[in-house]
Amino acid sequence: MTHYNFAYLDEQTKRMIRRAILKAVAIPGYQVPFGSREMPLSYGWGTGGVQVTASVIGPDDVLKVIDQGADDTTNAVSIRKFFERTAGVRTTTHTRDATVIQTRHRIPETPLAPGQILVLQVPIPEPLRWLEPREAETRKMHALEEYGVMHVRLYEDITRHGKVAQTYEYPVVVNERYLMRPSPIPKFDNPKLDRNPALLLFGAGREKRIYAVPPYTRVRSLDFEDHPFEVERWRQPCALCGATETFLDEIVVDDKGGRMFVCSDTDFCRERQRRNDAAQ
């Protein structure tokens, strides 16, 4: 594809986005506005993530794209093909081999390494949005660190359900300063945000915001002293690979109420099945 610039975006746009990323890295958790471009995919499909990836990827990078943990769903396949065609980069499904990983809704189970970049697609970047509809007001609340209202929401959850019922987009505080919405990852993945050796970049295309968690930054999930933060647990292991420490998807297998629980991270699951087979 000689008609497109490398990785689709023109160099001036990439420069602008890189400046936003630098600012985001300098102020962990702070939402930096940027001039989001029209992309050849619709809003809600990862336009923010694609623009961030296009701005940080180089010809020597190896790209992995995840959608809900899987490498083989529509969103993942399309975005991977997009970069194969417009940037000519190598792609992989192995977390360990990738240098840039774009993801929707999951952080890989395989621990990330220093030097890797994880790009998360974000629908709504503002953690206070459903509590305070005015953008001018939420910015002021961030500036003044007025985050009490987020605890009002957690209080209400405990009152109604006996525990914090929020299972995804669970609010975190980055570097003990900015309240951040960690994109719609399950709260199971929240502990992976904390002091992660990889660079975590968040791109919201429709809302035109970029934010970041630099490597080894403290990320704390909000909670109460007497109701500490907890992640989901499952009663059975993965039906395919036997893993007990991963995030499991429930899959309906027939119309008689049959269901199975399997790893949502397909790469991790396959790798583990392969090792199980080799051991036998």
């Binding site: 009490g148 009002v152 209080y155 009152t159 109701h227």
Partner: protein, 258 residues
């Protein structure tokens, strides 16, 4: 009473374009005192309250507030972070329409607990305990703590709003027609409650009302407003029983005698 006022307002002026909101208004509020601002609609009562709480910017004048730590500052010129902090610690604002002052989507307990959480309380059981205490204080049933404000009557909403404000033990509470939208019997009980809370907590209150009966019951002193100006100031009984200014005389004589 101590020798210096809690709040000293001087020359407070606000224009809406060419029209007068309030003009050169001055008064003191002493610790433990309830000051009533009375007058007809459009006389500038609410303008004064809004200037003090920072909802609108005052045109001229100053309002010196003596904080708990003894520092004196002009609240009309406070930096925004300081003003917002003041409003949720040492001050309280009770709106005429409780829906403006409450979070209607969360339970009564969360409404009362919000200010505590704003100030860093992070223990669920403690916050809930304090909320229960305050429901007692404002004479609401304890078992309504988990109910949404949507399910409350007007009088209960107003009680909840008062509890929500008082939970951080403010020193000065601004009230805008707190009983304005209630029927007479509910109004009477709420006034009773306010009177006892003011005495018990040693609160200072600025209460805006057009209802002279409310003013007589609650306020120690009155400022009578007309056309944005304070036309008469004095002890409540004195102003209501022996009005000097023609407008005050008109106001007092226009109250229906039963």
């Amino acid at each position: 009473m101590t020798e210096s006022p809690l709040l000293g307002v001087r020359g407070l002026t606000k224009f809406y374009g060419a029209r007068v909101g309030c003009l050169d208004v001055g008064f003191n509020v002493w610790p433990g005192e309830v000051l009533g601002l009375v007058g007809e609609s459009g006389s500038g009562k609410t303008t004064i309250l809004n200037c003090l709480s920072g909802r609108i910017a005052a045109g001229a004048g100053n309002a010196e507030y003596r904080a708990r730590d003894g520092a004196v500052a002009d609240v009309l010129r406070l930096a925004e972070p300081v003003r917002r902090r003041l409003l949720r610690t040492e001050w309280g604002v009770v709106h005429q329409n409780p829906r403006d002052g409450l979070r209607m989507g969360v339970s009564a307990g969360a409404n009362v607990g919000e200010r505590l959480m704003d100030l860093g309380a992070r223990n669920y059981a403690m916050i809930r305990g304090r909320a229960l205490q305050w429901l007692d204080h404002v004479e609401m049933a304890r078992d309504r703590i988990d109910d949404l404000p949507e399910t409350f009557s007007g009088g209960m909403l107003q009680r909840l709003q008062i509890a929500r404000n008082l939970v951080t033990r403010p020193r000065l509470v601004l009230m805008d027609e707190p009983t304005g939208s209630l029927d007479v019997s509910v109004q009477a009980r709420l006034l009773d409650l306010l009177r006892s809370l003011v005495a018990e907590l040693d609160l200072s209150v600025i209460i805006v009302t057009h209802d002279l009966a409310v003013a007589r019951l609650l306020a120690h002193r009155l400022v009578v407003m007309k056309g944005g100006e304070a036309v008469e100031t004095g002890l409540t009984d004195q102003v209501l029983d022996d009005p000097q200014h023609p407008y005050t005389q008109l106001l007092v004589s226009s109250v229906l005698r039963s």
